[in-house]
Amino acid sequence: MIRTPLRPLARILRAREKGENPDAIEAENRAQRHAVIQDGARSRAEGRLFILALAFVGAFGVVGLRMGALAATQPSEPQMQVTGAQIISQRADITDRHGRVLATNLLTHSLYAHPRQMVDPNGAAEKLAAIFPDLKVDRLKEDFSGKRSFLWIKKKISPEQMQAVHDIGEPGLLFGPREMRLYPNGRIASHILGGSTFGKEDVASAEVVGVAGVEKAFDRWLRDPANDGAPLTLSLDLTVQSAMEEVLSNGMKVMNAKGATGIVMEVHTGEIVAMASLPDFDPNDRPRPLLKGDPSDSPLFNRAVQGQYELGSTFKIFPVAQAIDLKLVSPTTMINANAPLRIGKYLINEFRNHNYGTLTVTDIIVKSSNVGTVRVAQILGADRQKDFLEKLGFFEPTTVELSEGPTGKPLVPRRWPAVTSATVAFGHGLAASPLHLASAYATVANGGKRVKPTLVHDRNRREGEQILSAEAARTAVQLLRQVVVRGSGRSANVEGYEVAGKTGTADKPRPTGGYYGNKVVSTFSSVFPASDPKYVVVVSLDEPTSVKGGGESRTAGMTAAPVAGEVIRRVAPLLGLRPLTDQPLPVVERPLVDGLKLVSN
């Protein structure tokens, strides 16, 4: 654009000719120039205002958004920086039903070395070996003077040992904090708790991982920070558990048994109050699993859950209860129990080749007649018998919350011919764990409603399905009561607690096939008190022999039953059950001195 001069000569001359004022032309041009400058300034100012407005909108927008965010989010404690100290320990405690600690954490330290930072590697190695006798001096010297730049020396050390290592004054020896799992009660409930070990390890911390039992089954839950450090409350009762373990271990010694199992279970909820398997171990120092041989010889083997035993005559109550439920027999029905009974090519005999002749159904249970039970099972038929045992839970592993739980799958015969049906009726040919037996007895004692075993206290659970009528279940418990009153379980009778139970002696199967002649598993499965069953107690001894009065006996009535009786005698008061006495004791009131009698309503 060509700049217009203020006084263009052509126009000035023309204006002069016409006699006009040439200054007006200059003023006009000046005004035009100013207008252009003003336009530019205005648009620049508008631009600035726009940017300023944007800045204000942005700033207020940020404030508004922040306010909205603050109003909408959960209030939380402001923190300048992430502090290293963790308030809640990384793994939750495990307690029993009354809140007594079964497993907890303890802060200890681990010891590691940076050999390249060492001042005096040889001296450090010698002093370390003096503090920890299990370390080898030569090995340490080799490690410290070699090419390694890092090595672990000890995973857990006590505060005293830590101080001693501090006193060496070696800059290459360092400590890392460690949370150690502690089982303060030692061997008590060892199979249930299992044990734990370190998972991923780091200098600053290490994760604790459960390796067995409840620790493994609830590993995720125990480590979940969302639980806010709430402990896992098991259904166990520490007092009962410890009393039962004491009685069992004494019983095992007296009866010269190889192993023993005991279970105390609440009838209505299926909560396991105590469960033990002997021999046991210390979960603080868990032994290594056996690499060869029979795993059941290891103390790690949980006989109550993993052990599959033929449980013998304790099974007899199931076909009888079912037959009573279906109204096929009544407790007074006479059954022909002439021994031996021939099924196909097999002969079924009674214990010690007795022959009971004709018996009532009650006496079949009381005298534990094999032939009589087989007759009842024959009345039922194989299909119904199998169906009932399946409903009782004898065909699949128990639902108990242990990592070993799913491995306890019963050994069920695949085919179910007449002879299998007969042997299963008296507890041979079907191997199940003592926990299966306990839950089946709890089902019968619970008025026929299915009971599933559990280790967690006070969990909401659905009521089990009714698999036996309440009336038949009550009758079955009364039959069991008769066994203890006048049958093979007499030595399990405890005054005041109305124990009802059944003995079972089963020959142990040989690994090569067939049965041992002199090795048995004797079991006593019981319910008490019979009038209103509250608890189930199962005691099982592996290869017991009772030497009493000169003779040797392996029957459950002489071995497992007295131990079970002692368990009930010790445990029932601890569970808060009052003994039932027929007559209340008389109350003696001294007459008042002045001969008056106090009366009130």
């Binding site: 320990s89 007594r100 520490l238 008042l592």
Partner: protein
């Protein structure tokens, strides 16, 4: 008029600045305090954990059993058994304190009685099922 307004505004701004300064420092002090308290809580929780573990360890049934056996002569503790459940009526109550002169029954002091005379009759809640 205008200069007074200016003066007041300046004073207000100075006051606000002073207040903001103090708030800033008190917030920072509170934050440091909080970190300290949190550390303390963590340390106390750790101590508590150790105490609980120690308590559980000292009260482990095995040790209690040993202690009972060691002190059997003094304490005579035996396992809890069924005979120890009795009715409240059978619990020996201490004799009510009577004036020493008015004791016509002539019983020596401190003799426990099943249910002392003059004791109010049984209330329903005393009777256990």
């Amino acid at each position: 008029m205008r200069s007074v307004l200016y003066l007041l505004t300046t004073l207000l701004v100075m006051g606000m600045a002073f207040w903001a300064y103090r708030e800033n420092y008190s917030t920072q002090a509170a934050l440091t305090d909080m970190v300290k308290v949190q550390r303390e809580i963590a340390a106390l929780r750790e101590d508590l954990g150790v105490r609980r573990a120690e308590w559980a360890y000292l009260n482990r049934p095995e040790r209690l059993r040993e202690l009972v056996n060691l002190n059997f002569e003094k304490l005579k503790l035996v396992p809890f058994n069924a005979e120890q459940f009795v009715d409240v009526r059978q619990v020996a109550f201490p004799l009510p304190k009577a004036p020493p002169a008015a004791d016509p029954a002539g019983l020596p002091d401190g003799v426990p009685v099943e249910r002392p005379a003059g004791f109010p009759p049984l209330r329903p809640q005393e009777r256990t099922p």
